[in-house]
């Protein structure tokens, strides 16, 4: 069977020829497993607790998912490219800290002045920091050929350390700004709702739509899938593999920075320990959504479903009062199950794939 990523994707969406009737339904279920899992989770928890299945609660849970969802989208892009980005949790923490640092007022001693950048400038600068860290990752991986795991692991520690150094272990709290300085509005991202939907969820939807568009409709998306599926073949076909790699890590850094902004805005405080181990949840969401960790396979829709499955499951466990240790067990079980199903779908040298 042809291994060109575009055709593989088409095969996923159009389904198999109707050779055997019953087998077709099984395939439908297998391909839509993340969606059915989500339905099953909602059904089970609605039964276990009357507080679960209300619009208000769904919106609150979606708000919680927004943080992990944003990280997962960036992680999907990197994983599609055949790499991995372990530093996203630390970049989330660092960007929150940078935003807090800028909101507190930057003191320039040599000029004798304190700068209070307006909120839009803070947002842009923070996203710039995320992009910068991503660029460092990308350059290390693409040009210096450092394995992705190792390079991003190093960046994880460096970014975390920089965040801790900047705050001395404490948190930045005066993020609301004051009228006199003209920098109000930071908490708008976290606290407000448009038509009842929290802004965090709207940001997630926008980023997901942009990422989906990027993957399906642009040349960059084609390049991502091809260099993830078979890097050597892509390079020989004229895909600028190295440039794509640097760009994809920058995009991951940007997504992490946006997530950091949304989180510190929700909490109106920026701590250097924020986002600790969040990268693992992001990877879990991508895997549950059906992406292959070796690269070349995966969709934004799947990743979003994966993020919602994890988020709704852990919030459901909290609502029914299950110990947090059980939550860890369940999250792990779901991931193992997802990887098992992944290998059933994609395994067997493409016989069923």
């Amino acid at each position: 069977m042809s291994e060109i990523p575009g055709e593989t994707k088409m095969a996923e969406t159009t389904g198999k020829p109707r050779a055997r009737g019953g087998f077709d339904i099984a395939h439908l279920l297998l391909e839509g497993r993340a969606f059915f899992a989500l339905i099953a989770i909602i059904a089970i928890f609605s039964y276990l607790s009357p507080n679960y299945a209300t619009i208000g609660n769904f919106l609150i849970m979606a708000n919680h998912v927004a943080i992990f969802g944003l990280l997962a989208i960036g992680m999907l892009l990197v994983i599609l490219n055949g790499g991995i980005d372990l530093s996203v949790g630390s970049v989330l923490g660092l960007s929150g800290v940078v935003a807090g640092y800028l909101m507190q007022g930057v003191e320039l001693e040599w000029a004798g002045v304190i700068l209070y950048p307006p909120v839009w400038a803070v947002v842009i600068l923070t996203i710039g920091v995320g992009a910068f860290v991503g660029m460092v990752n990308g350059v290390l991986i693409a040009w210096f050929k450092v394995p992705a795991f190792v390079a991003t692991l190093g960046t994880l520690y460096v970014a975390r350390g920089v965040g801790l150094l900047m705050t001395n272990g404490l948190t930045f709290n005066k993020l609301s700004g004051t009228e006199a300085l003209g920098n109000r509005g930071f908490e708008w991202l976290g606290f407000n709702r448009i038509a009842g939907v929290p802004i965090g969820v709207i940001v997630l939807t926008l980023v997901a739509l942009i990422a989906g568009f990027l993957l399906m409709r642009t040349a960059f998306g084609r390049w991502l899938y091809s260099s993830g599926g078979n890097e050597r073949a892509a390079e020989l076909s004229g895909v600028p593999v190295r440039r794509v790699q640097v760009l994809v890590y920058m995009l991951s850094g940007v997504c992490a920075a946006i997530a950091g902004l949304v989180l510190s805005s929700q909490l109106t405080s920026a701590g250097p320990t924020a986002g600790f181990t969040y990268e693992l949840t992001a990877i879990a969401a991508v895997v549950i959504g059906g992406a292959a960790l070796t690269g070349g396979r995966g969709t934004v829709r799947g990743t979003m479903l994966g993020a919602f499955v994890i988020g709704f499951l852990s919030d459901g466990l909290v609502i029914i009062g299950v110990s947090s240790y059980w939550q860890t067990v369940f999250t792990g079980a779901v991931i193992v199950l997802a990887v098992l199903l992944n290998s059933i779908q994609y395994g067997g040298s493409g016989k069923r794939g």
């Binding site: 019953g22 339904i25 099984a26 279920l29 297998l30 497993r33 059915f36 099953a40 089970i44 276990l48 607790s49 009357p50 507080n51 679960y52 209300t54 208000g56 609660n57 609150i60 919680h64 943080i67 001395n168 272990g169 404490l170 948190t171 709290n173 989180l263 929700q266 909490l267 109106t268 405080s269 701590g271 320990t273 924020a274 600790f276 919030d315 909290v318 609502i319 029914i320 009062g321 299950v322 110990s323 947090s324 059980w326 199950l337």
Partner: protein, 315 residues
């Protein structure tokens, strides 16, 4: 198809035993502690839960492990579940102000235990140990054991917890009166035993001559003791802790730790729930002052036999 159905049935079957009662007796009290892996916070949660159930409420204990995002999600869950009161051990003196405000605005009274937040008027009550008094008590005992000259090491708790600075300041106020007591190292070990162990090992490499260790809490002190034992240097070194946890009391009994300061966590965890119950029934706070301090007690080899239950000293 069959595989999928089997899987769903299995999942549903495993979920059944977790079925929680959806009818709360007098109401739900949500208790949120830091990390039950630490016996201090474990006792805090268990005593609060037992008191709540005694008074006829349903109680759940959840853990935020020091992460303000997790704390925010747990508060959201408590609001969704329609809790009548929240007993919270805040993750961060500044960062947790937002979540306490969120719960209060949702109409749920919040009672803080063990750590405070840097804003009053939002929580109904903040019940904390009198850390300043406890630190002074411990430092005086430490001086008695160490003498007035020597090199010592201090372990500092999580900087985001006000108690860390309060205890350190308390120690330094007493110790600074003896100029021959020299602090050769001060390390942040975040209330954690493993971090205390690792840091102590590094400190011992840098400083071969140490007479004493004073720590912000028991876990860090126990880590330091483990490191000293491993290097064979525990003999003759005075180690002081703070909390009164069962492991530390065991160490005091064995002569490994000189003393520990008991935090009346069992007392104020119980008191918080009683005050919450009063507020739920009467709509006004039971005690007029928001910040309430509970005195600490000293545990040394002399009164170690009075330690009858975790964090409980009977006379």
């Amino acid at each position: 198809m069959i595989k999928f159905t089997k899987r769903t049935l299995l999942a549903a079957a495993t979920a059944l035993p977790l079925m929680a009662s959806s009818v709360w007796a007098e109401g739900l009290i949500s208790i949120i502690v830091n990390d039950p892996a630490n016996p201090y916070w474990f006792t805090e949660g268990e005593v609060a839960k037992a008191t709540a159930e005694e008074l006829g409420y349903e109680a759940t204990v959840a853990a935020h492990k020091g992460d303000t995002n997790t704390e925010s999600r747990l508060i959201d869950a408590a609001i969704t579940n329609g809790a009548k009161a929240i007993i919270l051990d805040p993750a961060n003196a500044d960062g947790s102000v937002g979540v306490v405000r969120k719960a209060t605005e949702a109409g749920i009274p919040v009672f803080l235990v063990n750590a405070e937040i840097n804003e009053s008027g939002i929580a109904i009550a903040q019940l904390v140990s009198n850390n300043a008094q406890g630190a002074a008590l411990g430092a005086v005992q430490w001086i008695e054991a160490v003498g007035d000259a020597g090199n010592f090491v201090e372990f500092f708790g999580n900087p985001a917890d006000n108690n860390a600075a309060t205890r350190s300041n308390g120690y330094n106020t007493v110790i600074s009166q003896y100029p021959d007591l020299i602090k050769v190292a001060e390390e942040v070990a975040n209330w954690d035993r493993t971090q205390g162990y690792n840091k102590m090992q590094s400190i011992m490499q840098a400083n071969p001559d140490i007479q004493a260790v004073i720590s912000g809490n028991d876990e860090m002190a126990l880590g330091a003791i483990a490191a000293l034992k491993e290097a064979g240097r525990l003999e003759g070194i005075i180690v002081g802790g703070f909390d009164g946890s069962p492991d530390a009391v065991e160490a005091v009994r064995n002569g490994e730790m000189a003393y520990t300061v008991l935090q009346p966590v069992a007392v104020f965890a119980r008191e918080a729930v009683i005050q919450a119950d009063y507020y739920i029934k009467n709509g006004t706070p039971m005690v007029a002052d928001e910040k309430q301090l509970f005195d600490c007690l000293l545990i040394t080899i002399d009164n170690v036999d009075n330690y009858t239950a975790p964090f409980t000293l009977t006379n």
